[in-house]
Structure formats: C-alpha cells, structure tokens
Amino acid sequence: CTSIVAETPNGTLYHSRNLDFGLFLGWDVKNKKWELTERLRPLVVNVDYQKGGKTVAKAVHFVGYVGVLTGIKPGVITMTMNERYNIDGGFVGIFEWILGQRSEQWMGFFMRDTLVEATDYASTKTKVINAKIMSPGYIILGGNKSGEGAIIVTDREKPAYVEELDPKKGKWFVLQTNYDPVDKPPFFDDRRTSGVRCMTNTTQKAVGFGPLYNVLSTKPNLNLLTAYTAMMQVDTGYLDTFIRECPQPCYPW
C-alpha cells in the first residue's frame, strides 16, 4: 500500500491511498496476475454511512468485509491503514482471543469505530496512539487544519511511533508504504523512494487530486497488487475510488 497526506500552501488537506493486497495468495501464471487481487477488484464499493438520512462517514469496503481500511468523516478526519508485517502479528492475537483474552481490538473494527465516532483530529490521534490493537499496522490520519496529518505505527508490544506533518518546517506531506518510517525499506520493495521523489517533484504549490493520482499511478507505487486508489479531501467530504490495473511490464509488488 501507499498512503499520502499532503497539504497545500493554503492549508487544504488531501489524503490518498493505493490499496495493495494479495501477495503470495495465488499467482495466475497465464495472465501474470495475483489471483486474490483479481477477485477483490469487483468487490470494491464506496459505503456511505447514514444515520437519520444524513451521512456520518464514508468508507471504501470490500463487499462482505465490515471493517474499515480507508475512510473519511467529512469535515473532521480521514483515515487509512497500511499493513505492517510482523511475526508477532494478528495470528497471536487471534489465539489469545480464542483463549478468552479479549482486551485487544480487531484492526478493521477499530478503524470503523474510530472513524464513525471521531469528533476531531487531536482526540482521534490520541485514541489511535493509546489503542490496544490485535495486529500491528500503520494508521495514517489526516485532520482538517494545517499540520494535521500523521503516520502512527502501532505495535502489539511497543508504544506507538508517530510521524507528523510540519508544514512550517517544509514537511508538507507524509507518505507511508509497508515499512517503518525509521527504517530503510528493503531493496526489493522500495516504494517509498519512488513515492517521495514524485511528491517532491510535484511541489506543494501544485498539490491536488490530479498530481496525487499521478504519483499513485507511477510504478512501483502502482503494482500488480494494487486493487484500488482512493482520493479524499476532508473539508469537502470528497471520496472517490478507482479500480486499478497495472499494465505489464509491472512489478509483482
């Protein structure tokens, strides 16, 4: 996955993401595609959560999956979650849950609860930082004011690590793939360098949906695992999602 929160010079916040999923889950030799990713694409749907006929949140779902991986609460926050691989992953948490230790939260459900109940960026950030989530992950948050954007690295054992926007010091975007921000990504899966290079080339002045979509259309940020690209703008409540195909030759991840 690649998630980006970016801020324009006048403080407008955009949040975009590529969702990549299906690694090693069946390879279609003939068509050179991941089987599960192919199966997931037709299941992508935008969901408008309504109470009393009014929108309370919007999210991108795979049909049948009730948790949230990408969502927006109009005027309040935007959220995405990127996968974090770890041997002490959710598998351990599932066993603990089955054995009756149920103090931790399931990632997708936590994301949805947090999104729907959000009242502002600061309290949502605190909630995410202090959450006990069953599996590790990268939760990327965007708010509705200048400087409100963060990557929060959650871990089952260690305290969360936070990296934030700081537009006054020139940090006008944060970009997260599937590796810890403090570590160098592995040479065989370095989507960070490409993404950061393209965002830097874009320049803050030019940031908007078009340039962000182009960054997320550049290989390897666009790859054979990419199921969809979602585009969000918190102040207008805009959420649009597009199904992606990576034309060959394309890297498998």
Partner: protein
Amino acid sequence: QDAYPYTDRNCRTDVPYPPNDPKVSTFVLNLDLNPKDRWAPLMKNKTNELKAMIGDIINLVGAFFKNKTKIVNDLDTLLGPLVYTLPQPYQDEMIGISDASGVPLGQIVLYNIFYEVFTV
C-alpha cells in the same frame, strides 16, 4: 524495483483527473436498520463475486492439506462460533451477510479476520 522496466523512469504526469479507470459505485449503509439487515441489499448484487473470492481463499488454505472438504468443514466448525465472541454491531452484520449471501458463517468470519491472519 531498481531493475528495468519495473519502475517508471519518470514520475507520471500524464494521467487525467478524474481518470479513465473504472469508478467505484456507492452503497448507502443505513445505520438505523438492524445490523443483520444493513448489508442485505448489497449482497443481492455481489454474492457471486464474494463466493468466488472466498472460494479462492479456501482453495489456497486447502492446498496445504490432503482433504480439502474436511478443512472447509473444520473452518466452518471452528470459525462459525467465533462470531458470537466478536463485538457488536459486527457480530450481527456478519450473520446478516452470511444469511443474505448463503456463504457459510465460518467463511465470512475468516474473510473478516483475514488481516489479522495475514500480517504474519
């Protein structure tokens, strides 16, 4: 990605916005409805796609075992009851999705906890 031609040499700037890629449709989830009924209208149109995707996961899991049918039955037996330990409204929403789609409850649970399983 350093190896040619997997990485675009230049950052793309030629994609229009909105793009020509297929746009995703929107479904209104009425939170005022009983959780068991919320997803039913969506399941009517997407059941075949959901079954195909879950079938792929089952095939993948089954590939590691001799008797695939037994594994499918075991998954349903093991994971089906797990739903009753999950928080609301997710518990009832999953039951509703299983009822509306005809996909066994254990398989719907497996799909919904796949992130937790897959991070390892």
